[in-house]
Amino acid sequence: MRRLRSLEDNPRRVAGLMMLIVAVLTAVPFPALGQEDPTQGVRVKLSFKDEAGETQPAVGVGVIVTTADGTELGAGVTGDDGEFVLATDTGPMTVSIDPSTLPEGVSLRDTEVTSRNIVVDTGRVAIALFPLQVGDGPIDTGSNITARQVLQLTLEGIKLGLFLAMGAIGLSLIFGTTGLVNFAHAEMVTWGMFAAFVAEGAATAVGLGGTKTGTILFASIAAMLVGGATGYLLDGAIFSRLRKRGTSLIAQMVVTIGLGILARYVILYFFGGSSRFFKSVSGQSAMRIGLVEITPSDLISVGLSIGVLVLVGLALQRTRIGRAMRAVADNRDLAESSGIDVQRVIRLVWVAGGALAALGGVFLGQADQVQWETGTRILLLIFAGVTLGGLGTAYGALVGCLMIGLGIQVSTLWIPSELKNLGALFLMVFILLIRPQGILGRKQRIG
């Protein structure tokens, strides 16, 4: 469970844009390793951003790889591309670099971390990250806040908020229509992410889609189909039956916890712990629009998610089934007695929620990485968004998630980015205490 912790420190794009001059491992997709590279082992790629913002390799840095018990497996220096690769057996390894050999004027962002523990899986190259910066010591981010940073972080915040909202709407509507808090919903996001990853691989293999855009589009649609089907199956095979049996909501909630654990580890079982990337969109460089930067794929994702969310809103407002959904969420008994097939509506909410979460997963995977722990990481953020906006309402979920996304990203202007998620959690707790029904929720008896 802990073996990939080292990768979690992967600095986000924001950090780089905040003039934290960091070295990030370039988003090289795994199978695209060159001929001379081993297919299993350890890989270190050191680079930093110079004053002009260009990524430069850190050449000639000493690297040592040891096993967990301290036996040295190999040592060397990074090459002209700033890379050091070593073929190893599987198992836990420690990768250390020698900070005194770093290029002049370049230092480790976290000066105390000169070694990382990683685990090499069968047939995988494990990556050790060492963020670098120009200059010494932590860079003061608190002082000169520029308009550009604010705009950039706002954009990142909206992006994150929209992607979270894709997952949150289903969670909120399922709660609204059935009263169930679905702890497995974030795993639907991961599930969709990996469905798209598989579909992308399959499409590339048979030459479907042709262009990269076509491939990722195909993968996204496949993910939505898989997500919708999963929602259908979960409700059909498990939750509709539990409802019929009169199983209490608390018991159903514990079932969703079991389901979440199962889903998470099924993904880990089949895909392993390494991070993957969508090959069709990885390695894109950011475009500059006005003062802000965004990669083309993220721009498309943002546009698509706005489009999808507008469609969902229209469907809820204008279509018969959408109105039925809102009616059930509002007052189930009344809806049932006025002739709405409540079970059918709930099934549809599960399908739509699953499909939306899956699409959100594809977007998140493109913006960040395809990783089995994604669901665990965003579960509480989605909860935060949903409770902030008001449990049970679709629009509340959207508004809440946008606020959470913005809050998380913009707060990095003042607080260390490793603590940015804390703000969201505190906000959620705070909202639950002072206004448990959320911003857009309707007051009901609490407690």
Binding site: R2, S248, G258, R264, Y269, G272, E418, L432, L433
Partner: protein
């Protein structure tokens, strides 16, 4: 097939299963589940952040000794004090909330604690992701089992392990007796009344809020002690050992044993860890012997499969036997509204 099955060392598997059922993990989880049992089993509080209590307990003892150089006994006290403070912080504002809201707040709180512990901001006290290591020695100095290894027949313990296991299980048994008496007392009956019908308890003049807060503090302190035992047994306190999934394992242990019964956390934990070890070791040997081809499962995946089994187990238990082994369905309808 028989010949193949004969190649598996069932004796060794049995030994490992029994050892796991008596080992450190089983002891820690039994203790933690006892705390959760007071929260959920007797009072009906949906605490989904129990690992947070373990974390503050573990960090209390770790920080007191390794960072501040306190007397180890004061460290133990600090761990309990931290857990009590956490219970107050959580309980005072949230016990008025609906049960599922309390669940979300508690899980968020446990993650906040983990994030803070691994942050560089608190690094001077917690040493970030590496965690604290130098605090358990003073406890082991008291260890009367001086030999490095002890073995009885096929069973095998290190001296330090034996020490902490005996102390831990002894303490667990004492606590179980205490809880048994407490829950027979008028105080315990009020807790159960609140679980069954809070409004009715209030109508009888009982301050339900105050009773719930007391239950949260008592269960939280027991969770904190479980955390202290864990970090002392492992001689290290690291933030990422306190993941939310641990809370759900404790839930599984509790539900397996039977919610709202004194002995169920102990038996549930022994069975849970015994079963996990059984599944793991049988599969490992099957993989080694080649019954299961490496394309289906390799040694790495055996460990992952255990977690999948926990997920399936929790779901099936909840659907088919929510009262667990000892519980009674009538008493524990599991509807903590």
């Amino acid at each position: 097939m028989t010949a193949l099955l004969a190649a598996v060392d069932w004796g060794q598997i049995g030994t490992l299963t029994v050892s796991a059922g008596l080992g450190v993990d089983a002891m820690v989880f039994a203790m933690a589940a006892m705390g959760l049992n007071i929260h959920f089993g007797y009072t009906g509080l949906l605490n989904f952040g129990h690992v947070g209590f373990m974390a503050v307990g573990g960090y209390g003892v770790g920080i007191a000794i390794a960072t501040w150089g306190w007397n180890p006994y004061l460290g133990l006290v600090l761990g309990v004090v931290f857990a009590l403070i956490l219970a107050l912080l959580l309980g005072v504002p949230t016990l008025r909330l609906r049960a599922d809201y309390l669940a979300i707040v508690t899980i968020a709180a446990s993650e906040i604690i983990r994030f803070l512990a691994r942050s560089t901001t608190l690094r001077p006290w917690t040493r970030g992701t590496e965690g604290l290591n130098e605090f358990a020695g003073e406890f082991y100095a008291l260890n009367p089992f001086k030999a490095t290894f002890y073995d009885w027949g096929p069973f095998f313990f290190t001296g330090n392990n034996l020490f902490i296991i005996l102390i831990g299980w002894g303490f667990t048994l004492l606590l179980a007796l205490l809880i048994w008496q407490l829950m027979r007392s008028p105080w315990g009956r009020v807790l159960k009344a609140i679980r069954e019908d809070e409004d009715a308890a209030r109508a009888l003049g009982k301050n339900a809020y105050w009773y719930k807060l007391q239950a949260l503090m008592l269960g939280g302190a027991i969770g904190g002690i479980a955390g202290m035992l864990q970090v002392i047994a492992k001689s290290t306190v690291q933030p990422d050992t306190f993941q939310p999934v641990i809370t759900f394992f404790i839930w599984t242990v509790l539900i397996l044993g039977g919610v709202g019964r004194v002995w169920s956390p102990i038996v549930g934990s022994m069975i849970f860890w015994g079963l996990l070890a059984l599944v793991e070791n049988v599969l490992r040997q099957f993989v080694t012997e080649g019954f299961i081809p490496p394309s289906i499962m390799d040694q790495n995946q055996v460990g992952i499969f255990r977690f999948m089994a926990v997920g399936i187990g929790l779901m099936t238990l909840m659907v088919y036997r929510p009262q667990g082994i000892f519980g009674s369905r009538e008493e524990m309808a599991l509807d903590a509204r």
